[in-house]
């Protein structure tokens, strides 16, 4: 275990006020005003809450807060490259507008996310802002509309600060698959941030924005959250509308959220979740106020997890998993036990089947979903003499290597004569996986596992070994096949980089049990001693 980190809390530096909201959430005992002083490692704090309190009290303006984040963004971005597009001018304008409304005493000026800077993965459509999906074929494309998740954030007062980098159309686990740039890990700039939502994870980790949206088809929120030491939530399939999310694999895709604390993640989820008439696969289930259900540290009993049954998935702690990761997860399990829960090993025999099934299903759906990128109506068109050449050249030039490979795999799997052997069989495996999770979740409230089999690896390390990269998704893909919610919370470190590399604990629950996952994740986060997940990058000044 690496030595405890020196946490530098640059990102929240103002006095907290004893408002009712604060009373509900008093997890952070003493974050005093700037300049950021070295403080002992302590539980993560809610940035959203601090921003809200300082705006309401008039202590700080939205412009101040925005400028603080933007200056940090400008300082760190040259090495991180988290953003494909930064809307700094627009963000400043929106912040000033918010300040004007607050000053003029407008009711409702301070929405639940007023002044909160969010990063949005670039496969989510944003009106009047480039949305490329990380693909050359959509270079210069500006959607006519906001994705529902983005619209809801904006309606709650959030400010979209920019579009974050990703593996092209979400296909990859390192963010190296972006057509535009490689994002680095804030903990070690020679390492990948994970993927495909690497930009969103990296941006929150480096506090370039407060929270961010990602998407998770096979682990694309959870694995980068683990690599970058932030909280990442993959909601239940259907919990958040997919409208405006560029489809990769429609039956697996979900919009997820990143935050530097469980509280922030919960706050974002409450805003973006809920039925959307534009997405027939979005659920009609009511959306609770997830954040308000979180119990603050000072109100916690000594054994707050009494009665909670936790299953630790055997198959995720075996061969091929980094020993440092295994010991971090086991320590996390012990910590959960100390909090009162019962932790037992549970076996999911179908676990290893998930990976190949996932790659067949995801590629099959991708081969269909990406047909629309044909250069005819929008995006890059290579002009040619005949129709097939327009299609061929536009797609050959516009789409990257990994995307083409998955389109080919998917086209093959759906071809007549192969459908039964691949697609249909993979669907049968999917049913098995679903059932095996269902059975385990009848016995346990929560299942835990690592979020990734290792910590962040070096840039370029797996770029020429797709199978090694695919196998890295073993921890996460089953959850997508089963459509379950899963929360990743940083739980420890392994050696690497200047200050160690973070490891994330994955907690998996029954459909629509996000509230419970967030509750447990929050207690875990608030009671975890001696760790601080603020990357050393931020201590440089």
């Amino acid at each position: 275990m690496p030595p405890p980190l020196q946490a530098h809390r640059l990102f929240i530096s103002h006095r907290r006020l004893p408002t009712p909201a604060r009373r509900r959430f008093t997890a952070v005992s003493s974050v005093q005003s700037a300049p950021a002083t070295t403080s002992a490692p302590g539980p993560a704090t809610s940035s959203i809450l601090s921003i809200r309190e300082s705006l309401l009290s008039g202590e700080r303006t939205a412009a101040d807060i925005t400028s603080e984040y933007l200056s940090r963004l400008r300082r760190t971005e040259p090495s991180l490259r988290s953003f494909i597009h930064v809307a700094d001018a627009a963000a400043e304008r929106e912040a000033e507008e918010l300040d004007r409304r607050i000053a003029s005493g407008e009711k409702d000026a301070v929405g639940p996310l007023a002044g909160v800077l969010v990063g949005v993965k670039d496969n989510l459509c944003t009106a009047n802002m480039p949305s490329t999906g990380g693909s050359r074929i959509l270079d210069g494309y500006r959607p006519a509309y906001d994705a529902t998740a983005v619209r809801r954030l904006r309606e709650a007062g959030a400010i979209v600060v920019g579009k974050t980098n990703l593996d092209e159309f979400g296909m990859g686990s390192t963010t190296e698959g972006s057509a535009f740039q490689v994002t680095t890990n804030p903990w070690d700039d020679s390492r990948v941030p994970g993927g495909s939502s690497g930009g969103s994870a990296s941006a929150v980790s480096a506090r370039q924005c407060v929270v961010s949206l990602g998407s998770d088809t096979g682990g694309s929120v959870r694995q980068p959250a683990s690599f970058c030491g932030v909280v990442g939530l993959k909601p239940t399939y259907g919990r958040v509308s997919r409208f405006g999310l560029m489809a990769y694999a429609s039956s697996l895709d979900v919009v997820g959220c990143f935050g530097s604390s469980v509280f922030d993640t919960a706050t974002i989820l409450s805003v973006v979740a809920g039925h959307d008439k534009m997405d027939s696969t979005s659920s009609l289930q009511d959306v609770p106020d997830y954040a308000s259900e979180l119990v603050s540290l000072d109100l916690l009993e000594s054994k707050p997890l009494n009665g909670l049954r936790i299953g630790i998935i055997q198959e995720t702690l075996g061969e091929g998993v980094d020993t440092g990761v295994i010991s971090s997860i086991k320590d996390a399990a012990s910590h959960l036990e100390r909090l009162g829960s019962v932790v037992e090993e549970v076996s999911l025999p179908s676990f290893s089947l998930g990976l190949p099934a996932y790659y067949i299903l995801a590629s099959s759906e991708a081969s269909s979903n990406l047909s629309r990128y044909d250069g005819i109506r929008y995006g890059r068109q290579v002009s040619a003499d005949d129709l097939n050449e327009i299609y061929g050249e536009s797609r050959a030039n516009g789409l990257g290597h990994e995307v083409k490979m998955r389109i080919l795999m998917g086209t093959y799997a759906l071809s007549s004569g192969y459908y039964d052997a691949y697609y249909k069989r993979a669907q049968q495996v999917r049913t098995l996986v679903k059932e095996s999770f269902k059975g385990a979740l009848e016995r346990y409230d929560i299942l835990i596992s690592p979020a990734a089999s290792s910590a962040a690896y070096k840039i370029g390390e797996k770029i020429n070994d797709p199978l090694a990269m695919y196998s890295g998704d073993i921890m996460t893909v089953n959850v997508n096949l089963a459509g379950l919610p899963a929360l990743v919370v940083p739980c420890g470190f392994v050696e690497g980089g200047a200050a160690g590399l973070p490891v994330g604990l994955q907690m998996i629950g029954s459909p629509f049990s996000e509230g419970n996952l967030l509750r447990v994740g929050h207690i875990f986060e608030q009671t975890l001693q001696n760790f601080s997940f603020v990357p050393p990058l931020l201590a440089e000044r």
């Binding site: 006519a144 997919r242 405006g244 694999a249 008439k277 997405d279 269909s368």
Partner: protein, 546 residues
């Protein structure tokens, strides 16, 4: 009559030799309506036509001797829902290109389909009307291919579980084609979306895409290969058109492409159980064209068989060319196209309840087949029955005329005669005129009870149909009440006889035909209002009295 007659000709030889004639006289088959009007008016010509028809039919049978054709039809019906199948764009035929589109029907990134529930309702209606089994659970699938008019690169359709299957349709062939009842099987009915349109530049150097039609809901109806002749296939199409119009799910307009038939034709020696190689024919814009295209294709294939060149019949798509009255190869099929169907993950399954189906079932109108049987039971001729049931507006008008007490045969005669002629001249449908069923029944009653003569009745009809009003009103306004007072008629008769001594002399010398002349003079004097029976009786008495 030329139309009916030529439609009856189906030998390939006369077909080819009379191409020019065809070209000049054939009209689109909307015309079913007008054809019947013509035939009703020209009874004599019809009798002659029938005999010619029999001859040509026999000739046709001789040509097909030893072979039989197998015909199956795929029909696409565009639904007249307010919005498209999966987004809220409206669709209006003939709108400026790309004016009724949105990110969803343009296939923009991130957009998702949301099913218009009206589409399901229309599908269930049509499924029930076609006597199908309705699938309580069905799903959508993606049919994948690249074409610029297909924005997403796939069409949302239904593959292995259509919403309705295993039905049938009953119909009666037109009398002039020998008549007869037919029952044709329906394999399936499924929901899908239409594609856009390509507009090719005249130079051929570029094409433009119009996506107005992209995403418009369609029902595809696949028939069993139960048809054997062009007229059977054409009548199958016409019956589907009637049904969708009766149900109000589509305007069924072939010219606008709201109803499109793709026909599969194969030929085999009689007695052979396996099918011959089937050829698909597209591009027929009327039922008459379907009839002729199929008959042409059948004779083309039979000819190849007879010449020992059956191997030249290959699986292909042929286009009907109306100007040359022939089919031409559009594309040869290289193996089976692989559409890589798989379940549409963006749409949940369509799950229906029995209550839902029952409710729709209860709301169905009386369908053409039931109407025809009902009219037949009234004692109307098949010619009348087919005419009345052909258009639900006409049928509805007829039914409400009867509800007001009119006699069925008389009402039918008025509708098929003077009213149909007027509608044809003015290019109107019956519900677009000012005539109401109540007034037609009044008119019929006024003639029956002797208030007016049949001749005056025709005049009144023209008034009613063009200007509206009531029978009573027109009679009063124009003072058209029949003169049935014997004394008044006698006075007029006396005056006419006194005014025409020369004709009276001739009459009494034996030229009795002159009674018509006297009657005409009296009628003229009465301004057509004299009761003709009474007039003739009194006139006869007076002329023959010495």
């Amino acid at each position: 009559m030329a139309l009916t007659l030529l439609r009856g000709m189906r030998t390939p030889i006369s077909f080819r030799s009379s191409t020019g004639l065809f070209f000049t006289v054939l009209r689109p088959r909307l015309a079913r309506f007008t054809t019947r009007v013509e035939s009703a008016q020209a009874t004599e010509a019809k009798a002659a036509a029938k005999s010619i028809q029999l001859v040509t039919k026999e000739a046709a049978e001789q040509k097909t001797q030893g072979f039989e054709a197998i015909i199956g039809i795929e029909t696409h019906v565009q639904l007249s829902t307010v919005t498209k199948a999966f987004c809220s764009c409206p669709y209006n035929y003939g709108s400026q290109p790309n004016t009724t589109i949105c990110p969803t029907c343009m296939g923009h990134p991130g957009t998702l389909p949301v099913l218009n529930e009206k589409v399901v309702e229309c599908a269930v209606k049509l499924g029930l009307a076609l006597n199908c089994e309705i699938s309580m659970t069905s799903k959508f699938d993606r049919k994948q291919y690249f074409y610029p008019d297909l924005p997403k690169g796939y069409q949302i359709s239904q593959f292995d579980i259509p919403i309705a299957k295993k039905g049938y349709v009953d119909l009666d062939l037109p009398v002039e084609f020998g008549g007869g009842h037919r029952k044709f099987g329906i394999t399936r009915v499924h929901m899908e979306e239409d594609a856009g349109k390509l507009l090719h530049s005249e130079s051929g150097s570029y094409s433009q895409v119009d996506l107005n039609r992209a995403g418009v809901p369609l029902l595809e109806i696949v028939s069993e290969p139960d048809m054997r002749t062009g007229i059977e296939a054409a009548e199958y199409g016409a019956e589907l058109q009637r049904i969708v119009r009766y149900l109000g799910v589509s305007n069924g307009n072939m010219q606008e492409g709201s109803l499109r038939c793709d026909v599969n034709v194969s030929v085999r020696p009689v007695g052979q159980s396996e099918f011959g190689t089937k050829v698909e024919i597209k591009n027929m814009n009327s039922f008459s064209e379907i009839n002729r295209a199929i008959d042409y294709e059948i004779s083309r294939q039979i000819l190849l068989h007879k010449e020992g060149q059956a191997d030249q019949i290959v699986q292909e798509t042929r286009l009907w060319d109306e100007s040359s009255q022939k089919t031409f190869t559009m594309r040869k099929k290289e193996g089976l196209a692989d559409y890589r169907y798989f379940p549409e993950p963006d749409l949940p399954e369509v799950v229906l309840s029995t209550d839902y189906i029952d409710e729709i079932s209860k709301s169905l109108p009386e369908l053409p087949e039931a109407k025809r049987r009902r009219y037949e039971n009234m004692g109307l001729s098949m010619q009348d029955v087919l005419f009345l049931a052909n258009d639900d507006n006409v049928a509805h008008f007829f039914d409400s005329t009867l509800e007001h007490g009119a006699d069925a045969k008389l009402a039918c005669n008025w509708i098929m005669g003077d009213i149909a002629a007027y509608l044809k001249n003015e290019k109107l449908s019956i519900d677009e005129t000012k005539l109401t069923p109540l007034e037609l029944s009044e008119l019929i009653a006024s003639i029956k009870n002797g208030t007016i003569s049949g001749k005056i009745g025709k005049e009144i009809l023209v008034e009613l149909i063009s200007k509206g009003g009531t029978v009573k009103g027109v009679i009063e306004e124009k003072d058209l009440v029949q003169i049935a007072d014997p004394a008044a008629i006698e006075a007029m008769v006396d005056k006419v006889i006194a005014d025409n001594p020369k004709q009276l002399e001739q009459y009494r010398a034996g030229k009795t035909k002159l009674q018509g002349f006297f009657a005409g003079q009296v009628m003229k004097a009465s301004k057509g209002k004299a009761n003709p029976v009474l007039l003739n009786k009194i006139l006869g008495e007076k002329l023959n009295a010495n």
